[in-house]
Symmetry: C2
Subunit: 207 residues, 2 copies
Amino acid sequence: MNHDTGAILVLSGPSGAGKSSLITKIEDQIGAYYFSISTTTRPMRKGEIEGVHYYFVTKEQFENDIEEENFLEYARVHGNYYGTSLKPVKKALKAGKLVIFDIDVQGHDAVQKRLADITTSVFITTPTLGELKRRLNNRGTDAQEIIDGRIEMAKREVQRISEYDYLVINDDLDEAADMLVYIAKAARMKIPSIAINEFVFAWENND
Amino acid sequence: MNHDTGAILVLSGPSGAGKSSLITKIEDQIGAYYFSISTTTRPMRKGEIEGVHYYFVTKEQFENDIEEENFLEYARVHGNYYGTSLKPVKKALKAGKLVIFDIDVQGHDAVQKRLADITTSVFITTPTLGELKRRLNNRGTDAQEIIDGRIEMAKREVQRISEYDYLVINDDLDEAADMLVYIAKAARMKIPSIAINEFVFAWENND
């Protein structure tokens, strides 16, 4: 069935809006999916696992993949490369999986440029800026300047909500998770993602 | 909450694809909705109910509403007007309801021209043309030339599936109904339908 054709789900939103908790909550309910992981050339740290935290590759492999346009986006930070390789994404799509990206508005831009026709995007946020501040402060793990930076970033990001397909307001976690499940399931039925010409041809010829 | 803002759901697809059965199956699960009913100037027939089968109006009322651009679409058939009035649609949207249109590809065109930013559209079909023919023949209620006309219409309509947001293949009725519920629930979270500038302003100022 065409419902099993691969599709992309982009999740963006401020740090503190609850994206990670939401993803954990919905993962049993959305069918086969692949959560996009970054590729890096920096050395593996203690406790990190290949294919869980990052795909670890050599500088040569990374630069070769840049040349072959295998990166959706990449950046060089302190001499190390970080990027989103299209190789595992394409493999997952071919296997009919829903590819989930947890990326910022710039990453969303990059996905829309290359893969718009199979992409559904969701902006996840707290009901208010005040609530975001409370959540970030209540974590009690981050320094004040980190929290301030996140709040400034959030203020810039919400200005771009209209570039997204859907808005999920994470007020009640269970309710927001339900909403995200509906969007994720609908994403697989998005028209261009199910090679429509092939479908129409097969439909007519199965007489 | 913004989730309760009104939105539009357009359902199209061949007669025989099971639209009516699907709508009946999902109506308890999608929250407050308004099913769009046509307005006509033809006399009420025995057994017909105002506001259920049609809104019945005079020729003067109808032509006045045409002039005031209150019709999404209308046609004159055998001297009587038939059309989709925007008045009840606007009222339902204001009340935060999901407005459901069961219309053909031309009707979908008209909705996209006037109300694209709050509209989610779904094309519903059988898995194959052969299955459509079987279903139409098994009904046993229609003359062969009616059935043939529906099949020709279906062949033209499937050519325009790519104009829709989602495709639901009604193979198993329960499964198709679930898919439609997901799409209907997601439709309420579609970004432009939830007055986004107002949301961002309120978000920032609830500090």
